[in-house]
Structures are given as C-alpha cells and as structure tokens.
Symmetry: C2
C-alpha cells in the first residue's frame, strides 16, 4: 500500500477501505507517512468528503492511536458532555456537579481555548490554587469518590488527532464536517464513556455559522457515537448572542456558582437543565427528559450540586471558599460602563464581536503562548429582546489595562444592534438530534 495511491483514490472521489484509512493514520502517527502527504489527503477530503463509513474508520483509527480509558470497575454509567464552543459557554462547570449527584459518573476531559474566552480548564484555573494537572490515577480516584473528574487533554489520548489537527490548522483544512466529526469523537470515545450529550452551536459566536451546517455536524456526531455503541444525543443551540451574562474566566466561575445556587440568567439555566436532563436520561438515572430536568432542579434546590462543585474544587487544591464569596476569586481593578447610544430594543448582540473583544481584553489566547488574565471580562446587562433607553448600561467591562480596554472597545462598538421593533425571539435550543433522526 502506498500513501500516494490512497490520496489519488480520494482525489478521484473513490471510497477508501478500513485498511487504507488505518494505513494512513497509523503511518502518519508513527512518522512513516510525511505531513505533506497527509495535508494533501486532508485537502482532497475537503473537496471529496469522506462517506459516513470512511469517517467511522477514520474515527476508529484515530481513537486506537492512543490510550482508551477503562472505567468498568466504576459502578455508575459514565456520561460526558461536549460543546463545540461559544462565547460565555460555561455549562460544563454547572452540569457536571448536577449530574454527579445521581447514579452517573462524569469523566470530563477538556481542552484549553484559543480565541474568545479560555476553555473549561482555563476557567477552573482562575480559582486560586486549582490544579488541572492530574495523573490518570488521580483522575480515576476523583471519578470514584466524587463521580466527577476534570482533566486536560493529554498526549496519550488520540495522539493521531492532535497531530492531524495541528496540521489542519495550518493548511486550511479545518472546515470539513467529516474531519471535524472524527476529531471530536475520537477523543470522546477514548474517555471510556457509555453515553455522550453534544452541544453543537451555530451562529456568529460559533465555529459553524449556519444552523444547517451545525445540524449536519450534529447528525454525523450522533451517528458515529451510536455506531460505536455509545448512547449519543446532540442539541443544536443558538450562539448568535453570548450564553448567560458573564464572559471571562473568573466571571464565568461566578456565574456557574450563581446557577448552582438557583440564581443566574434564564438562558444559561435553560440550557444547563436540559443538558443535565439528557445526561441523566442517557445515564439511566431517570426515564424521561422531564424527569431528568426535575432531578437537576432538585440537585440545585437541595444545595447538593453546589456541594459537589465545592468538593471538586477542594480535590483539585483550589480555594473552596469561592463558593461562599466571590471575593476569593480574582477580580479586575477597574470597570467601564458601555452605554446605549439610543433607545429601542436590543436587536442583536454579535457573539463573535464580543468574543473578539474578550480575547483582546485578555480573556483568551490569540496564540498558544499567550497568557490569560483570569480576572477580566464583560458583564452583560441587556440581552437580545430587552428594551433599552438611551444611556442605559448595556455592558460592564472589567479590565486591568487601559490599552486593552481601548482595543476591546473597538470590537465591542460593533457588537450591539439597537432596533425600533422588538426582534422575534429565537429558541435557544433549536433541535435535538438522536439516533432516531440522525440519518441524513
């Protein structure tokens, strides 16, 4: 078998066999197939997309390039959630402690973020003392004692994906649904889970701009998951405006704690409860979504979910007092109020602009070597559909550096749209993709 012949085959639009895909992935991971052949193959895949079967073979090859966790001795169903990412998306921090209150364990392996705000790990690190660098042993121990473990992506998990993603990033081959699907699922299937709930976002603040593309990706993800013997379900959710009101690393920890205390903004609560409900359902902790949501509400009302969160923080060496007062979280020195220039309704809040502004302010990274400022960020006072009067506060910027404030204002000035008419309200959760409706 020669790599060049496999590339040629894909270029011509022929269907590759399991052996051919495995040959490519294995050879590439072991440095026997050079990057220039893999990048030509990936570009060919952008024009002649992999079939579902080929994508499944690719996922499996990538999955088997590394370690697969075995949690069979943990007497709970293992369920994870994955989000394709968006601005203000902090649901992982909320739903993991909720679901862990029942007979479900959550082995959550998260990434760091590039652009926008940080990833889940970056947010957790804003808690003083919080150590995200667990060994596999500590990860398993947490999972046993707390039913909840958080950890960063490691070299051991699907190394083929890490190598391939790095290549896609610099060869303009990221935007390709089968490749995206294989990349996500190879990592998630390595977690040794029984089920997975996916939050596939669309809109200005999401990787996928269009509902149609997000739905397509959601279907691929569910099909791959189900074909791999995992119960899989995907929500397709709106990311045209930020999720919740707080954006920034420690600010998102604050808002997560608020939700776990029964407070917090409506949209974030809705999505967190629904995701939790589905995770409980896949975890056999209930028999309907409605019941799952009810269980999630009880975990919040009883304070048990907050206790789980606190125990998790303690287990990671973090300052558990953050649950009692936000004064133990880093906060920015200054605030700046961004006012409405006219009255009317908030017609739109461009999540992409808010995300860029947050990144410029110091919430996220432009490159992997950038250092995040955990304390800075934005607090939204108005959301889409809200009535505003001239000079109402739309947003508060929490900042430390005036130059960064100024730069972020350039981005922010584009973000708010004030309209005369109240905009039509759009549902946050647009679709639910399950085994029954994941076929094309």
């Amino acid at each position: 078998m020669r790599a060049v012949d496999i590339i040629q085959k894909k270029k011509e639009g022929s269907v590759l066999s399991k052996e051919e895909i495995s040959f490519l992935v294995k050879g590439f991971t072991q440095n026997q197939i050079p990057e220039y052949q893999m990048s030509a193959f990936l570009m060919a895949c952008c024009f002649k997309p992999l079939s579902f079967k080929e994508t499944l073979f690719l996922t499996e090859s990538m999955l088997h390039s590394g370690k697969i966790f075995d949690f069979s001795d943990i007497p709970f169903r293992k369920i994870d959630k994955h989000s394709t990412g968006g601005v203000g998306d902090k649901t992982s921090l909320i739903i993991a402690p909720i679901v862990a209150c029942y007979t479900v364990a959550i082995p959550m392996i998260s990434g760091r973020g590039l652009g926008h705000t940080g990833g889940t790990l970056d947010k957790l690190e804003s808690i003083p003392g919080f150590n995200v660098h667990l060994t596999s042993g500590e990860f398993i121990q947490n999972l046993k004692t707390l039913q909840l473990a958080m950890m960063g992506q490691t070299q051991e998990i699907a190394p083929a994906d890490a190598k391939m993603y790095a290549l896609r990033d610099v060869t303009a081959t990221v935007e390709c649904i089968p490749l995206i699907a294989a990349s996500i699922m190879s990592k998630k299937l390595a977690e040794g889970i029984d089920g997975l709930v996916l939050d596939v976002k669309f809109g200005s603040g999401a990787f996928m701009q269009k509902l149609k593309d997000a739905t397509e990706l959601a279907k691929w993800l569910v099909r791959i998951g189900e074909s791999s013997g995992k119960k899989t379900l995907a929500l397709v959710t709106n990311m045209n405006q930020p999720l919740g009101n707080k954006i920034g690393n420690s600010l998102e920890i604050e808002e997560s704690i608020e939700v776990l205390k029964g407070q917090g903004p409506k949209d974030l609560i809705e999505l967190s409860l629904t995701l939790s409900g589905y995770m409980l359902l896949l975890g056999n902790a209930c028999s309907s979504l409605k019941e799952g949501i009810s269980l999630a509400q009880k975990a919040i009302a009883s304070g048990k979910a907050l206790q789980k969160f606190q125990a998790m923080v303690k287990n990671h060496g973090g300052d558990e007092r953050v649950v009692e007062s936000f004064k133990y979280l880093p906060s920015a020195k200054y605030t700046f109020k961004f006012l409405a220039s006219k009255g009317g309704f908030v017609g739109g809040i461009n999540a992409r602009s808010i995300g860029k502004a947050a990144s410029v302010l110091g919430c996220g990274r432009e490159t992997v070597t950038d250092v995040i400022d955990p304390s800075v960020g934005f607090i939204l006072h108005k959301k889409v559909g809200d009535k505003v009067q001239k000079n109402d506060i739309l947003l508060t910027t929490c900042y430390n550096d005036e130059k960064k404030l100024a730069a972020s204002m350039v981005e922010l000035s584009q973000a708010f749209e004030i309209t005369l008419k109240k905009p039509l309200s759009q549902p946050l959760i647009q679709k639910v993709i399950a085994k029954s409706n994941c076929q094309k």
Copy 2:
C-alpha cells in the same frame, strides 16, 4: 502574508495575486514554507484550477527561482523543442541537427526519463563515451560553434519547479493542466530562447490520454509562451501507437541516424520534418512551414544534418563512428520474435503496454535509482493499419536477461490488437496550436 490564508483563498476558489503566488513559491524554495502547506495548496489547485493569469504568475515565480540563460551574444535566433513524452519519441535527436544547419541555434536542456524508455540524455549516453555532464561554459561554447548544445536539467534552472514536482509526484497532484503548464514553461523560459515548438502528445502512450486534454494543455503552453514574449507553437500529436519502429536507448539512436540518412519509418520522418519546419519558421530561417520542411529535407539529403549530429557526438566525447556503423553502439545479446497469433490487420498497438514492457526489459527506470540497460529494446515490424498473416513477426525483442524478457512478454501480450477490418487511419499530427488559436 500567511501561507494558510493563501491556501484558504485558493480552496474557496478565489483568484490569487502575483504577490501571493510569489510569496508561496519563494518561501517554499527557500524552505520557509513547509512542504505540507505547499502540498495542501497544490491539492486545492487540482480542485480549483489556477486561472491563466495565476498560472502565468506561477510560471514567472518558478522561472525566477533560478538562473536564466542569456545567449544574446550568439548571433542566431535560439529555438527549442519540448515534447511531453511518449514511447519511441526520439525526435529531439533528429531535429536539433537538422535545424542547426541553418541560422538557428538550439539550446536543448533535456530530462532523464522515468518509466517507458529513457529520456534524451539516457539515449545519448548509450553512445560509448558520450558525456552529458557539461558545464554552463561548455554548453555555451557548443552552442556557439555547433549551434547545437545538449545538457541535462541542473539545480540552477527553476529549482522551485524541481522541488514542487518532486512533491506533486508523491501527493497525487501531478494531473492538473495549469500546474503541468507552469512546470514545463518555467524550465523552457529559463533557456534564454526566442521561440519554442511544443509536441503535446495524447493517447495510450502519453501522459494525457485524451485529445481534448492535450489540446487544452497545448493552448495553455502557447498562451504562457506568447505572454512571455516568446514565439510559441504546439503540435498535438497521436501517441496511441509508438513513434517509429525502434524502442530502446541505443535502438533509438540507430533510428535517429537512419532518419538523418534519409531512411527510417514514415511517421517518424513526418513528425521530425514538421517539427523542424516549424522551428526554422520561428527561427526566421524561412517564411512558411512548407519552405521550412523543404529546408529540413535538404539538410538530410545533403548529409549536413548527419554531420552536425556526428560533430555533436564528438564534442561530447562520444564515439563518432556510430554514424558509420551501428556495431559501435551497444547491442543486446539475444533476440526473440513475437509472432501474430492470427491473420488480419493491426488494429492497435497499445503504446502504454509497449512502454511498460520496455521499462520492464531494462530500457527505462521504475525509480530514479534503477540502472538502464542501453542495449535492450524492441523493433516493430508492423504498425497500425498494416496487413498481417498468422505467424508474421510483429516485433523483435532485443534482450540480455531471460527473466526480464519473460516479464516484458506479459506486458507485450496485451499490446497488439489484430482486427478483421483495416482500422481507420488517424492523422499523426492532429492539431497545430498557435497564438491565433490558443485562446479558450
């Protein structure tokens, strides 16, 4: 400027600027842009073909990556010929000595061959003592004294093309007309020529299988040449059966000498005279193709062309007695006669099968490190349209190694098609593409 953005642009089908293409080619040649980005770009070009303007920019960037010869002190028009290659194609060896008899100089930089039989250099090297490794100085000296110089491709000429072609070869990105055109023309324009005659072949023994594709390539080549200020003309010629009767390195030297002596097969004579005629026309040595052909015939009839050939051999240290007797050329130890299995007409001689059989026999290389056997090859006794009776000799194989003979017979057995009806005769020269008809 970032390579990834340029790749993305091409992937989306946008038109690249001169600066962007130059940035890519320069960066790649100087090892600043890695191979994996260039191969992704090349694959994108296969799906979103470069426009003519982009192809011109690419050609220029590749041309200027190396040395460009300056022959302005040589008081003749400099004209070269380039063939896209085929089985039994030895016209370079014939037309260069013919044209050099008039007020035209031929600076011919040739390649070695992969597959089929060898390239022009390999054929010349079958002449005992012939040294193809000239310095630039010797090359220019030959051009001045003989009006004829032969030399191999060097690292100095269009190094970007050499690097890019090596990459295309292993990433399934060879078959792409704009890339092929830029590759050919960047090397030819580096030769410091005033005009160029191209022989673009189509058919089973050619790189381009279809007349349509060969015509398209011919148009691109002529457009690039003319846009670069060179008189350029292309013949589109039939390579469904081998050209001439002899295939193999020293056998092709023999047949070239035969033609220069006024003998040789009809098809080879026709093509050689036509190519010579056009070269003389572009070289202002005559005012019509008819006159050019007549001049070429005179150069043969007078023996002057043969003398030029002999002088060239002598200049390269080769045994000039090969012109007097083929006994001074290497010849194979054994011969094997391949007979017609039934009577009828030769309906087809698959040039690709003959080429493969020749390669297996030792005429060509499968990989760059293979060693060529200059003495082996085939002599065709029947061509397409000829009448045959059962057990007539179709072909004689000249061989040294019985195993290689056997392996080549496997390929050969597929090559001849015997039909009941005489096949329709196809013109050898199908089209002439000039400035006037090179636009799409």
